[in-house]
C-alpha cells in the first residue's frame, strides 16, 4: 500500500494525471480518481485520503469535509475557494491551498480589456458598425484615459498586475482599497492606498474589483457605494459575482449612477438569460472566462499538485490559505514549521521538465 492516498474529485476516469504525477514523483503516492454521484459516496471516498484535490465536484460540503479524517490538505485548482468551508477545515487540521498565480496574468488582462473596451466604447461601436451605422459621435464621450483614475478594490496578486499594467502602460493614476495590503507593497506599485471604500468609489473613473469571495466580502459593494460613484465612471468585476449586490448594481445602472459596467461574473452562474444586465447597452459581459488561457489550464494543475506535494513532504505550502489551521496542526502533530522551506525551490525548476498541456 502506498504511503499517501491522493484523491482527485471530479476528473475524467482516463485522465493520465501527468502534472499530478510529475510533481509527486519522489513521493510514494496512490492516485484515486473519484466522481461521486452523491454526498454519501463522496464521504466514503474521502475517508482514507491523505490529500483531496477538488477538480470539479458539487460534493464538497461540510459533511464531506468532516468525513475526511486523514486529509492533511485540500487543494482547489482555482484562485477562489469560496465553496470550501474554511472553519471546518481549520478544525479538522486540513490545509487549504489554491492556485495562486495560476491565472493572474489572464484575469488582469481581462480587467484591462474591459477597462479599455469601456473607455473606447468598442463593443457598442462594433455592434453599430456591423449593423451598418456609421456614426462616430453617438454614445458617451471617450475620455483621455491617461488623465483618469483607476480604483482597485483588492491589491493582491491580480490587483497588482492591473495596477502595473495601467500605470506603466497607460499612465493612469491608480488608487486602491485593501486594508490587508502592507503600505510598502502599495508604494512598490506606485499605488495610492485609500482607507475607505466610499472614497475609492468617489474618486475613481474606473473601478476594478479583484478580491476573494468570503463571509467578509459577500455583498461588499452595494447601493451606498454605487451612489457615490461619478456618473461618468465605470465598474468592472472580474472576480466573483457575490461580492456585489447585483440588484443594487442593476438599479444604479438604470438610474445613471455610473456610465457603464464590464462584468465577467454574476451572482448566479450560468447567468439567467433574462438578467437585465444582459439587456443594457452600457454593460459588456463575459461568461466567467477571465482566468482562461491555454497556459492557465495546465498551470492550475501544476500549482495544485505542487501544493499537495509540499504538504505531503511535511512543509507549509506556498499557497496555503488558512494559517488559522496552525493550532489544529499542532494538536494533530502534523506540521513542524510554518516557515517556507528550501524545498519550495521545486517551483523554480524550469517548467520545461514538465509535460506541456
Amino acid at each position: 500500500m502506498a504511503e499517501h492516498k491522493v484523491l482527485i474529485l471530479g476528473i475524467d476516469e482516463n485522465d493520465p494525471l501527468d502534472y499530478e504525477r510529475a510533481e509527486m514523483a519522489d513521493l510514494d503516492v496512490e492516485f484515486v480518481r473519484g466522481n461521486p454521484q452523491s454526498e454519501g459516496e463522496a464521504m466514503e471516498l474521502v475517508r482514507d485520503a491523505d490529500a483531496l484535490m477538488m477538480r470539479s465536484t458539487p460534493y464538497q460540503g461540510e459533511q464531506v469535509l468532516r468525513a475526511a479524517e486523514k486529509a492533511q490538505v485540500l487543494a482547489v485548482y482555482s484562485h477562489g475557494f469560496n465553496q470550501i468551508d474554511t472553519d471546518v477545515c481549520n478544525e479538522m487540521g486540513i490545509i487549504i491551498t489554491n492556485g495562486a498565480g495560476m491565472c493572474m496574468e489572464e484575469v488582469s488582462n481581462q480587467a484591462v480589456t474591459m477597462i479599455l473596451c469601456l473607455n473606447r466604447q468598442l463593443i457598442q461601436y462594433n455592434e453599430r458598425t456591423k449593423a451598418g451605422q456609421w456614426g462616430r459621435t453617438e454614445g458617451p464621450p471617450i475620455e483621455p484615459i491617461d488623465q483618469q483614475v483607476l480604483g482597485l478594490v483588492g491589491l493582491g496578486n491580480i490587483g497588482r498586475q492591473v495596477a502595473r499594467k495601467m500605470f506603466n502602460g497607460w499612465r493612469m493614476k491608480v488608487i486602491a482599497y485593501d486594508p490587508y495590503c502592507p503600505p510598502w507593497i502599495a508604494q512598490e506599485y506606485a499605488v495610492e492606498q485609500v482607507f475607505s471604500l466610499h472614497e475609492l468609489f468617489e474618486r475613481s473613473d474606473y473601478i476594478s474589483v479583484q478580491i476573494p469571495l468570503n463571509k467578509e466580502t459577500h455583498h461588499l459593494m452595494r447601493k451606498e457605494h454605487f451612489d457615490c460613484m461619478k456618473p461618468t465612471a465605470y465598474f468592472v468585476n472580474v472576480c466573483r459575482g457575490g461580492v456585489v449586490r447585483e440588484v443594487d448594481l442593476i438599479q444604479a445602472l438604470r438610474e445613471g449612477k455610473m456610465r457603464g459596467a464590464g462584468l465577467d461574473v454574476f451572482e448566479q452562474e450560468p447567468v439567467d438569460p433574462d438578467n437585465p444586465l444582459l439587456k443594457m447597452d452600457n454593460v459588456i459581459v463575459a461568461p466567467h472566462s477571465a482566468g482562461q488561457s491555454t497556459r492557465s489550464a495546465w498551470l492550475a494543475r501544476q500549482r495544485a499538485s505542487q501544493q499537495v506535494a509540499a504538504v505531503l513532504r511535511g512543509n507549509w505550502p506556498s499557497a496555503g490559505q488558512n494559517p488559522e489551521v496552525a493550532s489544529s496542526l499542532k494538536r494533530r502533530d502534523r506540521m513542524q514549521s510554518l516557515e517556507p522551506k528550501l524545498e519550495a525551490s521545486r517551483e523554480v525548476l524550469p517548467m520545461a521538465v514538465l509535460p506541456e498541456g
Partner: protein
C-alpha cells in the same frame, strides 16, 4: 467593566537618553492616537525588566540589548504578547524561543527599501564607472584615460540579485531602468512572482556568479546565509564583474572576497557592510582603489527612520490589540498562540476604533 488601557513598553538604547518623551515622538505616535499608554523603560537590571514586562502588552526594542530568556516571561506566560524591533535584519533574535513561548515578533519591514536599493545602485554605478579611482587620480593631478578599460556598457549587461525580497525587487526595478537584464537566485520565491517583476529566476547560486556582471545580495543574515559568498562563488564570477553588498557583512567570507580582489578574480566591489563593524582601519578592503566603501548607512534617510519609528508604534499597537503584526517574523508562533485578527492598515484600524 471598562476595558483596560493598552500599554506599550519602550526600550531605548542603553545608556542613551530614553526618558525624554520628545525623543520618542514618532515611536509613540500610534499609541497616543490609539489611546494606548506609551511607557519608557528606565530600569537597568533584568529583574526590573521582567517586572516592567508584566505591566505591558507589547514591548518595543530600539537598540536595547535583549536576552532571549525574557521570552519565558512573555506570550503564554505573561501579559506582554510581543516584541517589535527596529530594523530590517533580525539576526540577533532567537525566533524559536519566542515561538515556543507564544511571543509574537515583528520588525520594521521595508522601512529603508528605497534607501538600501538606492545605495546599491550608487555602489553599482561607482563600480561600473570606476569612480573612486578616477576621483582620486584627478584630485592627485593625474588626467588619464589609461585605466578605463575594461568598462561595461551597462545596458544589456546582467545584474544578479541574490534574495528577491522587498529590497531585491526595488533594485531589480531600478536596474531595469538602466537597461540591465536582471536575474535572481531566491529559492523561496516562486517563478511566477519573479515573472511579475520581469526577473529571470535561476536555480543555483553558481549560475548567478557565472552570468552576472554585477552581483548584489539582498538576504538577511541567518545560519543559512552565513558565508554564502565564499571562494567558490568568487572564483565562478567573471573577472570583469563587480560584487556589491548592502545587506550584512557576514553573508560574505571576507578573506575570500579580499583574495578574489587581490588575485583579479573579480574587478571590484562596493561595500556598505563588513564582517566586523566598525571596520578595522587595517582591513585591506579599505586600501583598494577598485573598492568603494560606506559605513553601513544604506538604510538611512530621515524619511526612512521616521517611517521605521512610526511603524514600531503601529506594529506594537496591533499586537497589543489582538492583531497579527504586518511584518510577522516568526510564523511558527501560530502553533502556540491563541487566534488573532489579520493585520489591517493603520488608517483602517483607527477608523474602526
Amino acid at each position: 467593566m471598562a476595558e483596560e488601557t493598552l500599554k506599550i513598553l519602550y526600550l531605548g538604547p542603553q545608556g542613551g537618553d530614553t526618558h525624554d518623551a520628545s525623543s520618542t515622538e514618532q515611536q509613540s505616535r500610534a499609541a497616543r492616537a490609539y489611546g494606548a499608554e506609551f511607557k519608557h523603560y528606565s530600569g537597568s537590571s533584568e529583574g526590573e525588566l521582567i517586572e516592567a514586562l508584566k505591566d505591558a502588552d507589547t514591548v518595543i526594542n530600539q537598540g536595547h540589548g535583549w536576552d532571549p530568556a525574557l521570552f519565558v516571561h512573555m506570550g503564554n506566560n505573561g501579559r506582554c504578547k510581543g516584541l517589535v524591533s527596529f530594523g530590517h535584519g533580525y539576526d540577533g533574535m532567537d525566533l524559536e524561543t519566542a515561538s515556543v513561548n507564544g511571543v509574537v515578533l515583528s520588525n520594521t519591514a521595508s522601512f529603508g527599501t528605497e534607501e538600501v536599493s538606492n545605495q546599491t545602485m550608487m555602489h553599482f554605478l561607482v563600480c561600473s564607472r570606476k569612480f573612486v579611482l578616477h576621483d582620486k587620480l584627478v584630485k592627485a593631478g593625474e588626467w588619464t584615460r589609461q585605466y578605463l578599460p575594461p568598462m561595461g556598457h551597462i545596458t544589456g549587461e546582467t545584474f544578479g540579485i541574490v534574495g528577491l525580497g522587498n529590497i531585491g525587487r526595488a533594485v531589480a526595478r531600478k536596474a531595469q531602468a538602466f537597461g540591465l537584464d536582471v536575474i535572481a537566485y531566491d529559492p523561496y520565491r516562486s517563478s511566477w512572482d519573479a515573472k511579475e517583476y520581469g526577473v529571470e529566476i535561476v536555480s543555483t547560486l553558481k549560475e548567478v556568479a557565472e552570468r552576472s556582471d554585477y552581483v548584489s545580495p539582498h538576504v538577511f543574515l541567518s545560519e543559512g546565509t552565513y558565508h554564502m559568498f565564499s571562494d567558490e562563488f568568487f572564483s565562478a564570477m567573471k573577472p570583469t564583474a563587480y560584487f556589491i553588498n548592502c545587506s550584512r557583512g557576514p553573508v560574505v567570507d571576507e578573506p575570500a572576497l579580499i583574495r578574489a580582489l587581490q588575485n583579479g578574480e573579480i574587478a571590484g566591489a562596493g561595500l556598505d557592510v563588513f564582517e566586523q563593524e566598525p571596520v578595522d582601519p587595517n582591513n585591506p578592503l579599505l586600501k583598494m582603489d577598485n573598492v568603494a566603501v560606506t559605513n553601513h548607512y544604506a538604510s538611512y534617510s530621515e524619511v526612512a527612520w521616521e517611517r521605521a519609528n512610526t511603524q514600531l508604534g503601529e506594529e506594537a499597537v496591533r499586537i497589543a490589540d489582538g492583531y497579527w503584526p504586518m511584518s510577522l517574523i516568526n510564523p511558527d508562533v501560530k502553533h502556540n498562540s491563541p487566534p488573532r485578527q489579520d493585520p489591517i492598515s493603520w488608517e483602517v484600524m483607527m477608523a474602526n476604533r
